[in-house]
Symmetry: none
């Protein structure tokens, strides 16, 4: 340091920061955090998100909140899978990048994994028994619980368009604020729901899902969970309460062949998220061939990964692990 | 310590932790906390729960919140039993492992026991006067009260499936969070209730009770209080709003003989709790023979114990003590 | 679930938890959290500690707080190593299980790693300029900062035996309480220091270091950082202010050959920790052969791992990575 | 100081403050804060407002909350403009005095501007899906978020006259209180809305907009955003639920020629604000000639500036910048 | 959006973020925030720092805390300059990028500027009357005051190496934590001081100033204020309490010619800051030629700017403005 010549050292000083950034690239050339580099994630968000990201930069999460959202019916067909220990072990053995569960399961069962699988603490829920036309998903735990448990992220279900959005949005804003305070990543389940949505094409159409996805970005999501949209009924084209633009788009989409349509719908959701990473959910159980086709469309559309539940754990142990590997390969291949 | 030889000491060092666990076992071989060993109870939860656990690892609790939940009608048939002092003394004389009461009784009457019987402070309640189709049980005291009183646990009534679950679940989550903060055990009264439940088989069927029990586990219960389910009416088998799985199960159950059916229903509840200990309640007063049969089914199904009220204190003093002993023997025998 | 026979199901119910624990063992037979299984670590502690644990259950941490503890002199001999980016990249490239730094470096430099290397946030420090006879290490950041940054653990320097322990111990107790609140692991730098220690054999003898290590266990450390003790001067044997026991032990130790003595000293520190995992530090720069011998003695004594700084980064980049690999192999071999 | 003569120095001292204030006038003679001099703005309000004020003392803000208020339909016709980065860059390149967005966009996109364009954080919103007859705009973020982000102001939508004003006004009062605490300027979107407003001439008439504007002043707005009123339908003149005065005024206004009417309507809104600066919004897209005419009327009426969204960014990039320049010139000319 | 072909759109989706970053570069090619791009400044830090940054990316701040640090002596030689209004007007007329003052002046005088000049609120101070061997600078106001006033940054004096560092460092850590909470930039006055420093070469030598500068980086400074070091007395070379490395460096420096030495000393301070921007102070009044030489050396060494007080305002008004322009030109030229 004592023999530096003037010519070299000024530029050295000025360029020091840049060089160190450059040298930061991993030897493999892979940047596992590529989905998070350009949108000002906070230090805590980045450090925690890294835990749920594969080396290929993608993610496969195992959700297990169905015993709240539906009810104990899911003891069928595999009663073993109703045991949270079974699910935690499955997540561990399968190399999942996280398990998304509510607080009671996290405290009593997930803890036994001692950190082998990251925790996504699902913060709100509702049951299947009451009327569903004005849905609101409420707290079963809080961000502070997630912090104390060492969770890698929290999950929040936003019912976009519900008449109770006047309760939902402030509740979400409060969760997001706590997340910012603690550097906790916020995964928003972006779900269009309720009587208003039903009157404008329903919860599964591109119009509703794209709008819900965009809303999640506006609310400050770190990651967005969305469903792959499907075709509307024909009366959508004439529904005057739907914007003309979306009626036109839906018509064009339904004119495509099945594969192109899936990919285009997936891509539009990814674009609606405007760079915030999208995890696609599997929804209710479907045939394996459909499941793989849907997943491939989502990967090709640039999604961050999957959050697949019933389609994974409603199988025998070995079959679950087998299909898990397939999705992981699909995700890892997408990063090459 | 100074004369250790190298060969033995490395493994000694590494095995030190294991040995200290082994030497920790009680001479009798009994582990009264066996129900709580495998689900990560906190230090405070364990220390407090030990107070309501018999040496056989089971528990018999005396609940006395009926003068809130119903009304002053319970002055009949034994007016003495309307005196909280009488109940507290009964709990003491009978060797109950806890008495479950609201704050006013705890402060004014239970305190006279000076700790001879542990306190389970019931935190919420409702009266019988308003309409019950959208039930919500609200705070009559708080976890901090229980801490200050030196309670061994708190009790919370969750009305699973009620339209007001959007208020109930956050209220329960807040109670649970306070319990975690103070190391206070949380006993959830897991009760399916409300118009949604009535439309799907009612509050006493296996479908509803198993789902409520599972929900209590998901919400973070330390112990769950549940009712023993009973058979539905026949129209349940054709009720399309009930999952096909539960219609099938109910049909199978109703095909069994009475004893097997009770045991199977009890066992399914215990399994729905997924390892969280279950206390069965007695419900409304039934004949002694039925009561013993129900209790035996629950014990054989692996329950943690009983929380029996009206069936105990709605008798003369001596009869109460007599039947109390029978249940205690049944519980202690189950641990052998 | 509907066809269970009575004989099997009761024991099934009771044994359900145990089985799921058994099946939890990883296929490799390795339990990376073996050091933490038997001492009631909280869920958050376990989940966070897992991040700094190698699959072999050991740990190698890179500390970089020397520019505070000493001063800017460490720009020599490798000026590049005075750049925190260089150190962070070294930790990443070397596969370190954590980097131990103060807040400013964590916020401005470590964050660029985006979670690729876990953070151990060092919470307190002091500079080399004032008089050192009554040392106290004070806050440069707080547990809440560590939580917000997504740190895997915090580090705290306890100056055991310092005249200012009346400020040090309550400060540590407050840190530990915050750690419990947030589930944050607490690594205590257990350092005997100050004029009192100097009068009883000095900061490097077994007497002082074992006592400081035990103190860290008593204060609630999750992990303990200790130095490998060295021989005292001869006047120690006659120092009446030292307990007779330790004068005898020191004499016996000095009678052993160099290798046995190192191992015995290391083992005594590990035993003083009473099952709380011990990380040995490297101290000031020593020759490579001595460094490897010391490390081997510590590993054979059952330590959890190393926290080596100047001996690692005060080399050229390639040499640093080379010796890093050696220590990692030594640690991984110890777990076989 | 030691040679001051008594006669001169006392008056000097007394006049010193005044003179220094006088000398404070900028060489150009311009006082950019002229709109804020006479109404006791707090130090923090002034310092922050200065950031959104042009040297001419006026302001041009770019709002971009339409993807919440409406939905994802605004991806049409310029898909690039659905990218928040595009909008932020447009605000920067166009020299806007602020960009009004919700929290998610502020955190992830606006931050990349690194302060080049001031932030107006929009605190509340609602979606287009549910019924709109009883509107309430609820929190998507809070004043504390705005403080932490370094925002220059916050925006709040008040639905004047809505049946849910009993929730709206206290919510606004709480926001205003926080603004006072932190010295944060509060821009109120003064919007008459809801079934009550519809029955009295609708949301676009002078009666409703003037009343809403006055309400914003009464609630403590730092700046008010209002729409330029338009003519009512003819049945307004006979609507007995409208005060006679406003029926008379409306009649007079509709008797004027288009230009005079616009100016008069704008002036009445500015007067209703009673000195609190008014930003006029552009509303839905209109033809360029109309847009310029409206803007000129507002400027001539003494408005503080414009907050124009869809009319700006629903164009190609170059066209957006071109019309931006026109409005800035119009505003700057008004100050001469 | 509906006519995208598959080949182009996937990569489009994936590259969307990158492109938007690229297009963000300002037309002029200038990045005024270049000093802050690579060290994870928070959104609030960036937005506020932008206010004190010239378009050339540099900064010139006017400090006016000398009436606290010294005493009322500074009424001499220009009594007008003892009037805070005079100083505020000078900052405004001279186009300073900030004025650094204590709370009373901010509240009573700076506010009159209505935001025309950004505020750097100096949070701590001490007077010249007590003994200075164990210095500690204590709060005269707090971060919350700065937030409420709309300050662009806060200033904190750290007395590196003082015996009272055990009070100083936690006080600074608490200030830094508040700064993080509110997104407030923290400018650390990095001053080596106290008896420990005096014994090791004194407060003005490169050893002490570089170490203090590094400490400011470690403590989380957003910007560092440092003095340009000067040569030590000769006995420094033999001072055994100084690290050998620094004795060698000092000898080499003193062997250089005056200009090279200044530049080398400045550059070493900039490097010790490791990329955190350095503002050099002017210190006590020196001749104009020396002042310009010093400033040029600092600029050539890569400093962020200057914070010059007495050398600026201890002149007549016109002379002050004249030399101000010279430094601004020097800074702006450095960015070309």
């Amino acid at each position: 340091m004592s023999t530096i010549t003037k010519e070299t050292s000024i530029s050295n000083t000025l360029n020091m920061a840049k060089k160190s950034i450059k040298s930061h690239k991993r030897p493999s050339g892979n940047d596992p955090m590529r989905f998070f580099r350009n949108h000002h994630y906070s230090p805590g968000e980045l450090a925690r998100l890294r835990q749920i990201v594969r080396d290929s930069g993608t993610s496969l999460i195992l959700p297990y909140d169905q015993f709240i959202e539906h009810d104990n019916r899911h003891v069928d067909p595999n009663p073993e899978a109703s045991n949270p220990d079974y699910i935690c072990n499955l997540a561990d053995a399968g190399g999942y990048n996280g398990v998304a569960i509510h607080y009671g399961l996290a405290k009593r069962y997930w803890t036994k994994l001692a950190g082998n699988v990251p925790l996504v603490l699902k913060l709100n829920g509702k049951t299947s028994f009451p009327d569903q036309s004005r849905p609101l998903s409420v707290h079963t735990s809080h961000v502070e619980d997630a912090v104390r448990m060492g969770a890698a992220a929290v999950g929040y279900t936003m019912y976009y368009g519900s008449p109770r959005q006047t309760e939902d949005l402030p509740q979400l804003a409060a969760v997001r604020k706590e997340c910012d305070k603690y550097g906790m990543p916020l995964i928003i389940w972006a779900y269009p729901r309720g009587e208003g949505v039903e009157g404008k094409g329903g919860k599964e159409c591109s119009y509703a899902i794209e709008s819900a996805t965009r809303m999640a970005t506006e609310m400050g999501a770190s990651v967005i969970k969305a469903n792959l949209p499907v075709a509307t009924s024909e009366d959508f084209f004439e529904n005057k309460s739907v914007p003309e633009y979306y009626r036109k788009v839906e018509k064009e989409l339904q004119g495509m062949d099945a594969k192109a349509q899936k990919w285009e719908r997936a891509k539009r959701v990814v674009e609606a998220a405007q760079g915030i990473p999208v995890l696609f959910s599997g929804g209710s159980q479907v045939g394996d061939s459909d499941l793989m086709d849907n997943a491939k469309a989502c990967v090709d559309a640039g999604c961050f990964g999957f959050i697949f539940g019933r389609n994974m754990w409603k199988r025998e142990w070995d079959k679950s692990l087998e299909i898990t590997k397939k999705f992981q390969k699909m995700l890892d291949d997408s990063a090459k």
